[in-house]
């Protein structure tokens, strides 16, 4: 069965987000080993990760649009999107609460930034993964 543009764009986002998350964690860990544990020395990491994600998503969406006709979301798509959002909001909330707790405990701001970035990436990956699951299994 030919898959819809929504499903294809979810696949693209899962792949792009996973690649950037893995590179982000690898680079952040390497910086930590090298003793770069302050925010200014990691600004480049934050910038390139955002740039890499943007480029990957643009390329992915162009590919998805070229291979599947973009369509407006119908009721099934909207229901799947709502369910995925509801399920991931808990994960997102937990990450934000841990970050606030870290700030209250005066943890190194760099770790707070890493925690927030990883939370955002994971929330998006899980959300898009859940959409793919609902598209495949039915809702």
């Amino acid at each position: 069965m030919k898959i819809s543009f929504s499903e294809k764009s979810s696949r693209v986002q899962v792949v792009a987000l996973t690649i950037v998350l893995l590179l982000y964690i690898r680079t952040a860990y390497a910086n930590y080993i090298d003793g770069l544990t302050n925010v200014p020395s990691n600004v480049a990491l934050l910038i390139w990760s955002c740039a890499a994600l943007t480029i990957l998503l643009i390329v992915g969406f162009i590919y998805a649009a070229a291979t599947a006709k973009p369509e407006t979301l119908d009721e099934r798509d909207k229901l799947i999107h709502y369910r995925a959002k509801a399920a991931t909001s808990c994960l997102y909330g937990t990450g934000c609460m841990l970050s606030i707790l870290g700030l209250a405990l005066t943890v190194n701001p760099l770790f707070i930034i890493h925690l927030l970035m990883v939370t955002l990436f994971l929330t998006s990956i899980v959300g898009e993964g859940m959409k793919l699951y609902y598209y495949k299994r039915g809702i």
């Binding site: 069965m1 499903e7 119908d74 009721e75 099934r76």
Partner: protein, 78 residues
């Protein structure tokens, strides 16, 4: 704990065939959803909203209960 799983069957595929072999895309355009949603309805992977169900029945000029049938299942332990 027991869970009641709603079991709604439909005859959309058969009715499409009887309606001059209407394609999923044709039906999708007439009821305002994507072809993938029509496919999911036919495969019982998605129960449409009441509005879409009525639109499908209207396209085939059939009463709603002729297109969709509710079959309550026995309670299954989870």
């Amino acid at each position: 704990m027991a869970k009641n799983k709603p079991n709604i069957k439909n005859k959309v595929k058969l009715l499409r065939f009887l309606a001059n072999e209407m394609t999923q895309q044709d039906l999708a355009e007439r009821i305002g959803v994507t072809r993938q949603t029509v496919n999911a309805i036919e495969a019982n992977k998605y129960s449409p909203s009441l509005e879409v169900a009525f639109k499908i029945a209207h396209v085939f000029q059939q009463p709603l209960e002729e297109v969709f049938q509710y079959q309550p299942e026995a309670e299954q332990p989870t």
